[in-house]
């Protein structure tokens, strides 16, 4: 299925801005910050970019993660999520060298024993360290 159709299936219009963004997000398993995408699409208004990302998140096309520096990042959901209720329970790896954020789709979130009284909705596991390129350098 092509990107336009994927967007339309979520009830959103397949605009150029949206196609550009989703194409970049789909090109790898990285989570992108607003600033990075803004630099990539210098002709797109920053507000539009904020709205594209928020709309995608609410539609369940992308998931939002905060990296170790507190920067908000967005990555394509591998399996389309039911609306805003994401099933993105995979582990993320944040490189302290290049600051890239990798979605480790194949690494499931580990089980954690929680004290009584807490009702758990989900777990975010964020690993930080150095990626292959950065630990080589």
């Amino acid at each position: 299925m092509d990107l336009s159709t994927q967007i339309r299936e979520k009830g959103l219009k397949a605009t150029p801005s949206r196609l550009n963004v989703i194409q970049v997000l789909g090109s790898n398993h990285l989570a992108y910050a607003h600033a990075e995408l803004e630099a990539l699409f210098s002709d797109m208004d920053r507000v539009t970019l904020y709205r594209v990302l928020n709309d995608f998140e609410e539609a369940g096309l992308v998931h939002k993660i905060i990296d170790v520096d507190g920067v908000t990042r967005f990555a394509l959901c591998k399996h389309s999520c039911p609306g805003a209720h994401h099933a993105d329970e995979h582990v993320h790896f944040n490189c302290r060298g290049c600051h890239k954020m990798f979605c480790l789709e194949n690494v499931p979130a580990p089980n954690v024993k929680i004290p009584l009284g807490f009702k758990v909705s989900g777990v975010q596991t964020l690993i930080y360290g150095y990626c292959k390129s950065c630990s080589a350098a």
Copy 2:
């Protein structure tokens, strides 16, 4: 050991601002946001508060965590950490009702199997859901 001494042992001066902040952080196992502390100490300058928190973090008195909403929070280190290199590898619980962030000192960070090529420095495990009070309501 009293709070003033604890602060002085880290090479910092025991000022009223610092004593106020550390007293609140020590009163429970919650991680506080800048805005919350600012509201608590309305006479303290916001910049001073930023600096108190940063100095404490660099001194290893408190650790910094980003909550699920991307808000930066600070909590007292139970065991004094060696400088800025924190050993706060415990699990945090973020309530989606009251937005409180609990340090679960007794819940160790789980082991995660990481693909080859990544060099791991640490793991942040952030659980979200509802705390006792909020799930009752």
